[in-house]
C-alpha cells in the first residue's frame, strides 16, 4: 500500500530550482535511501513530504491526503544538531514532546500519550534510560531519542535526515537494524544519507537524486555505472563504482546480493 506519493514535484528555494519533476512512491515495508551530493535536494524532498515547504509545482500526498492533513501519520527525525541537547529535559519528556502538536493547547498528556511514549522507547531500546537528562546521552542514544520522538505519534511514515552522520560503525549497524525492523513492521521508511555503503547494504531501495530522480531501484538493479557517475559527478574509474559492483573489475558484493535476496 502506497504511503507517500510524490508527483511532478518542483521546488524553488531563494529563486533557485532545487527539485524538478520528482516522482516517488513509497509503500509500507520499504526502507528507501535518498542518496546524492550536497545540494541535490535530499532534505528539500524530505521537507516537502513533511509539508513544511510549499512546492512550486506538483503534489505530495501522504495516505492520499496533503501532508498538512496527515501530521499524525508523519514521523520526522531531523539531523541531530537541530535538537537543543543542553535543554534540561529527560528522555521521557523529550519523546513526549513529539506529541505536542497532536495534543493541542488544552489537552494534557494522558494515559494514551504515555503508552505511546513507552512503546516508542521500547522500540528503540531506551526504556532503561527514560529518566536520564538528554544532555548526558551519547550520540547514538541521542539519535535513538529522536527516532523514539518520531515514533511517539505512531506514524505510518518515518522520514530520517542523515541519521548516521557522526556515528561509529557499531552504532550505525544498530540503527540500520532498527530502521529495517520498523520497515518490516509496516512502516514506510525514507532516509536521506551520505553513507552509500549503509544504503546499499541496509536499504531495500535506493533513489539517486540530483535535482531530479536519476535512478530508482533495489541495490542489485543499480549496477549500471552511468547514473552513479552522473549523480556524484565522478569518472568511470572512481572507487565508488567498485562499491556498487558496477566496476568491470569487481563483481557485485555478495552482501548486497544477500540483503536483497532476503527482502
Amino acid at each position: 500500500m502506497t504511503v507517500v506519493s510524490v508527483r511532478d514535484l518542483e521546488v524553488d528555494l531563494g529563486g533557485r530550482r532545487v527539485l524538478e519533476g520528482v516522482n516517488l512512491d513509497v509503500d509500507r515495508g520499504e526502507f528507501v535511501a535518498l542518496v546524492g551530493p550536497n545540494g541535490a535536494g535530499k532534505s528539500t524532498l524530505l521537507r516537502s513530504i513533511l509539508g513544511v515547504l510549499q512546492p512550486t509545482c506538483g503534489r505530495v500526498s501522504v495516505l492520499d491526503r496533503p501532508p498538512r492533513k496527515a501530521r499524525a501519520s508523519l514521523g520526522y527525525v531531523p539531523q541531530r544538531h537541530e535538537f537543543a541537547w543542553d535543554f534540561p529535559i529527560d528522555v521521557d519528556h523529550a519523546v513526549l514532546s513529539g506529541r505536542t502538536g497532536l495534543l493541542g493547547v488544552r489537552r494534557r498528556p494522558g494515559v494514551d500519550d504515555w503508552r505511546a511514549v513507552t512503546g516508542a522507547l521500547e522500540r528503540v531500546g531506551l526504556v532503561d534510560l527514560r529518566r536520564r537528562p538528554v544532555g548526558e546521552l551519547s550520540g547514538g542514544q541521542r539519535q535513538r531519542v529522536l527516532v523514539a520522538r518520531a515514533l511517539a505519534v505512531e506514524p505510518d511514515l518515518l522520514l530520517l535526515d542523515e541519521p548516521y552522520t557522526g556515528l561509529d560503525l557499531p552504532t550505525q549497524e544498530l540503527l540500520a537494524g532498527l530502521f529495517a525492523q520498523l520497515a518490516a513492521d509496516g512502516h514506510a521508511v525514507v532516509m536521506a544519507t551520505h553513507d552509500l555503503l549503509g544504503a546499499l547494504t541496509g536499504c531495500s531501495r535506493l533513489v539517486l537524486l540530483d535535482r531530479e530522480v536519476v535512478a530508482d531501484g533495489a541495490p542489485v538493479e543499480l549496477t549500471d555505472p552511468a547514473p552513479w557517475c552522473r549523480t556524484f559527478a565522478v569518472g568511470p574509474a572512481h572507487p565508488l563504482l567498485a562499491l556498487i559492483g558496477a566496476s568491470p573489475l569487481v563483481s557485485v558484493p555478495e552482501r548486497v546480493a544477500s540483503v536483497n535476496g532476503g527482502s
Partner: protein, 299 residues
C-alpha cells in the same frame, strides 16, 4: 540596623512606600523568574535586553501624559517585539542585528521624549535605576493582575514553548504555530520587564529575567524544578536586596542585582552536579593514578 528594625519599618505607617516596594519587587521577580527560564534556555537573553530598553519610549510618553507607566511601557515593548519578530523573518539580516537596530532606536526615542518633559533629570534617573518611593496603589494592582495573567499563559503554553525551544523545525512539522508562539513569548517577556521597571529600573531589569533562571539552571537538570527555583531565587534576591538597600542606603535596583549575582556565583561554585567544586571532585580520581607517573616523567 538589624532585621527586626527592617521588619518594624515595614509596618510603620509613615514608611508605607516600603512594603509596597517590597511587594512590587517580589511580584516582579517571581514573574521574571518563571518567564526568564524560557529566555535563558532558548538563548534569547539579548532579546530580553532589547525588550527591556524598548519599553522606554512608552514609559516616557506615559510619564509626559501622566498616564499609567505600565500600560505605556507595555505598548512600546510589544510594538518593538512585534517589529523584531516580523523583520527577523527575513533571513538576510539575522535576528540579533534586527534587535540591535530596533532596541537602540527605541531607547533613543525614549530619551528624546523624556527630555521634553518638565523635571527631566530626576525622572530619567528614576526610570533608569529604579526607585522604591512613589509607587501608586493603582500600579500595585496592575502588576498583580498582569503577573497572574502572564504566569497563567506561561503554564498554559508550557509544552508548546518547550517543543519550539527543543527543535523549531520539528515543532513546525508537527503543526505548531511557531511564529505565533515566538510572538507570544516576546510579549510575555515584554510585560514581565514592564512590571519590573518600577523598583529595579530600566537598565538593570535584565538581571531579574536572566540571573535567577541561570542560577536555577546550574542547580538542576529538570525543567520543572528550574521553574520553581528561579522565582524563589528571584524573590529571595528581591527581599534581601531591599533589606540591604534600606539598611545601608544603597540604590535598590543595584543592590538587588548584586545580591542575585552573588547567588549566581555561589551556585556556579557549589552546585551539586555542575558546580566548580563538584567537577573538581569528579575529576580527582582520574588525576591521582596518573600523577606519580607524570612526576617521574618530569624528573
Amino acid at each position: 540596623m538589624g532585621i527586626a528594625d527592617f521588619v518594624r519599618d515595614l509596618f510603620n505607617p509613615d514608611l508605607a512606600f516600603l512594603p509596597k516596594a517590597l511587594l512590587m519587587a517580589v511580584m516582579a521577580s517571581v514573574v521574571c523568574g518563571v518567564i526568564g527560564c524560557h529566555v535563558v534556555l532558548r538563548g534569547m537573553a539579548f532579546i530580553g535586553d532589547a525588550v527591556a530598553h524598548a519599553v522606554f519610549p512608552g514609559v516616557a510618553v506615559a510619564f509626559v501624559l501622566q498616564g499609567s507607566l505600565v500600560i505605556g511601557g507595555a505598548v512600546a515593548g510589544v510594538i518593538t517585539a512585534v517589529l523584531v519578530a516580523v523583520f527577523s523573518q527575513n533571513r538576510r539580516v539575522k535576528e540579533d542585528a534586527v534587535i540591535g537596530v530596533f532596541f537602540v532606536a527605541a531607547f533613543a526615542l525614549g530619551i528624546v521624549i523624556i527630555s521634553r518633559a518638565p523635571g527631566y533629570a530626576g525622572s530619567l534617573q528614576q526610570f533608569l535605576f529604579g526607585s522604591i518611593t512613589g509607587i501608586p496603589d493603582r500600579d500595585l494592582v496592575t502588576v498583580a493582575v498582569t503577573g497572574v495573567v502572564l504566569l497563567s499563559l506561561t503554564f498554559l503554553l508550557h509544552r508548546q514553548f518547550v517543543a519550539v525551544s527543543l527543535d523549531r523545525e520539528m515543532a513546525r512539522a508537527t503543526g505548531l504555530a511557531v511564529f505565533a508562539l515566538d510572538l507570544v513569548l516576546y510579549v510575555l517577556v515584554t510585560l514581565a520587564v514592564v512590571i519590573s521597571l518600577q523598583t529595579i529600573g530600566n537598565i538593570l531589569v535584565l538581571a531579574l529575567l536572566i540571573t535567577p533562571a541561570a542560577t536555577a539552571r546550574l542547580l538542576t537538570d529538570r525543567l520543572g524544578v528550574m521553574m520553581l527555583l528561579a522565582p524563589l531565587i528571584g524573590a529571595t534576591g528581591a527581599v534581601v536586596g531591599l533589606y540591604v538597600s534600606w539598611t545601608w542606603d544603597w540604590p535598590v535596583g543595584g543592590t538587588i542585582v548584586l545580591v542575585l549575582t552573588a547567588m549566581f556565583l555561589v551556585a556556579w561554585t557549589a552546585a551539586p552536579r555542575h558546580g566548580l567544586l563538584a567537577r573538581r571532585r569528579v575529576a580527582t580520581p582520574d588525576v591521582h593514578p596518573r600523577a606519580p607517573a607524570l612526576a617521574e616523567g618530569a624528573e
